[in-house]
């Protein structure tokens, strides 16, 4: 039923989308500008900023480290959030509702302070390796994202399918993985993506949890921007976008095959 109101919703959707895409487009466009400073509109056209990315060791190295950390942190966060969310949602009482909110709390602490506290307790006091501590910090900031999404997903899923699985001989654990998890993949994936991206972009937590050979991409870019503001940063952003796009298309192809409506 393409009523007017549906149209209205679509229009808001499209406007929102435009707002989202416009800055991205802007970044892509400026990455080709020939002037030595980012400017819009661009006057000339060049690929040289893309070449310059590869001259910046810290970008390449930072990208790898950031990717590693973000992947590991968001994966472990998703893995920890799943059972925790399950324990919380199976019974809906005051205690659980409260604990659920706790899952969100750590990020209410300014992340810089969190990073610094981890630095002074884990690295300095407990002599943990830096990389492990960094991972832990990112794990902590990822957890709420995964937990929230998974909790929301589990809430909405009708529990009787799980009951049916138990009766058909599935243990709690196997019912969990065979029935609940496949039905909330949207939530799990979204949680993973959100926490991945949050970790990948995060600066505050990593500020102190850095050291020799532990360079993160966003910090590297921030440093670079303090002294240069040529379009290299636009170029690297465009590359990341392209990467994301490719990844999304790939995932779409793989996951798109499953024909079910979740």
């Amino acid at each position: 039923m393409a009523t007017n109101q549906h149209l209205f919703m679509r229009i808001i959707g499209i406007v929102t989308l435009f707002f989202l895409l416009a800055p991205l487009l802007l970044i892509v466009v400026t990455s080709f500008g020939s002037e030595p400073t980012i400017s819009f509109p661009i006057k000339g056209f060049t690929f040289s900023w893309y070449a310059n990315i590869f001259a910046q060791d810290t970008f390449i190295q930072g990208f790898i480290t950031s990717l590693e950390v973000a992947l590991l942190a968001s994966l472990t966060a998703a893995a920890a959030a799943l059972p925790a969310a399950y324990a919380l949602t199976r019974k809906r009482n005051r205690m659980n509702r409260f604990l659920e909110n706790v899952f969100l709390a750590p990020v209410m602490v300014p992340e810089v302070v969190l990073g610094f506290s981890l630095y002074s307790s884990l690295v300095i006091y407990a002599h943990f390796p830096l990389f492990i501590s960094l991972l832990f910090g990112h794990f902590l900031i990822c957890l709420p994202y995964s937990a929230r999404l998974i909790i929301a997903g589990m809430r909405q899923f009708d529990g009787s399918a799980e009951e049916a699985a138990w009766i058909l001989g599935s243990s709690r654990l196997s019912g969990f993985f065979k029935i609940l998890v496949p039905n909330i993949t949207t939530s799990i994936l979204s949680g993973f993506l959100l926490s991945f991206i949050n970790s990948f972009n995060n600066i505050p937590v990593s500020v102190f949890l850095s050291g020799p050979n532990v360079n993160m991409l966003p910090t590297a870019i921030l440093n670079y921007l303090q002294n240069n503001y040529d379009p290299t940063v636009s170029a690297i952003s465009s590359c990341l976008m392209l990467l994301t796009l490719l990844f999304m298309l790939l995932a779409e192809k793989k996951l798109g095959l499953k024909g079910f409506v979740s």
Binding site: I167, L168, K178, N183, F260
Partner: protein, 349 residues
């Protein structure tokens, strides 16, 4: 393979209203017992608490004499058709049905063979690859039925498993269920609101009312000798006449002054009852002794396909009678009602 004993089951969802009240049930090995009762009386709740899906506040459940309250649900080897189907939305029809078999480590090619056989029995072989959201209501219900039957559980709970099927399919399915049940000697607890289904399929019937079992007897016994007015009403007796006193072993003085002969009623019956379809409607007063004959006037009729249902005004109040549809009596028509003495039942509760 499984005898079920339920002892003093009591349950409340909110700690205030008592939903189940001292439920006792004994289901023998290989028996099919139906739970019959009005909407909201606690049938589903009873099944769920026996299956272990909700915790009863009181009572014990024994399977083959062993208390199973400590046994995890998944180890009980039960089966269930949920009233709301509870299909797995992310699995197609075949995978839904195969789910329980896989848990029992049934391997290909046996797995596919069993699944296909079962799907064929419920008439959904062509729908193997469909997802639940792409099925009609009745098709979903049949998937749920197939899923529960295919594992051949020791004890199977069927919660209105045929409610969304058409008459023909219902009969087919219930015969299939009964055949499987008897072939494999499965023990089943069956919830239905369809009485012919209930009587067609059950060894015993438990009639529930507000969380208690009012009568637990063989089908025939329930049908012909309801123990209470509630049971009688529930299984289709619609005409109740208060007895003032019994005159002798067979004759009863009714409140309104009439005398009815009821062949099988006990002398201390407090009321007499009869099914609408057992009342004969006559156009003229019969010449016979006139016993159990009452004049009346048709108020209203309803067409039921094979019969008409009449509301008839008599000296005993409005009487409901059903008679074959060969002939229709118009409203206003004066008729005579014959209450066959063998069909009049005495109740004392």
């Amino acid at each position: 393979m499984a005898a079920l004993d339920v002892k003093n089951l009591a349950l409340s969802y909110d700690g205030k209203t008592q939903i189940l009240n001292d439920i006792n049930l004994h289901v023998q090995d290989g028996e099919l017992v139906s739970l019959l009762g009005p909407s909201g009386c606690g049938k589903t709740t009873t099944l769920r608490s026996i299956a272990g899906l909700i915790k009863a506040n009181q009572g014990q459940i024994f399977v083959n004499g062993k208390d199973i309250s400590k046994v995890a649900v998944y180890k009980r080897n039960f089966g269930m058709v949920f009233q709301s189907y509870a299909l797995f939305p992310h699995l197609n029809v075949a995978d839904n049905v195969a789910f329980g078999l896989k848990n029992k480590h049934v391997r290909e090619p046996e797995l596919s063979k069993k699944v296909d056989e079962m799907l064929d029995m419920v008439g959904l072989l062509d729908y193997k690859k469909r997802f639940p959201s792409e099925l009609s209501g009745g098709q979903q219900q049949r998937v749920s039925l197939a899923r529960s039957l295919v594992t051949e559980p020791d004890l199977l709970f069927l919660d209105e498993p045929l409610s969304n099927l058409d008459a023909k399919l219902r009969v087919e399915m219930r015969e299939m269920i009964r055949a499987i049940q008897q072939r494999l000697k499965l023990t089943m607890l069956f919830v239905t609101h369809d009485q012919s289904e209930c009587f067609a399929i059950s060894d015993h019937v438990a009639v529930m009312n507000r969380g208690t079992i009012e009568q637990f007897d063989s089908s025939e016994k329930i049908y012909h000798e309801p123990a209470t007015e509630f049971v009688a009403r529930f299984i289709g007796y619609e005409n109740f006449f208060s007895v003032t006193k019994s005159l002798d072993r067979q004759h009863f003085l009714l409140k309104e002054g009439q005398v009815f002969k009821a062949a099988g009623a006990s002398p201390n019956s407090s009321s007499l009852t009869i099914r609408p379809e057992n009342i004969d409607i006559l156009e003229t007063q019969p010449d016979a002794d006139g016993q159990n004959i009452l004049p009346g006037e048709v108020l209203f009729s309803t067409y039921l396909g094979d019969s008409y249902r009449y509301e008839i005004q008599t000296a005993l109040g409005t009487v409901i009678a059903v008679s074959s549809s060969d002939k229709k009596y118009p409203a206003g028509k004066a008729v005579f009602l014959d209450f066959p003495s063998r069909k009049l039942l005495g109740l004392n509760k």
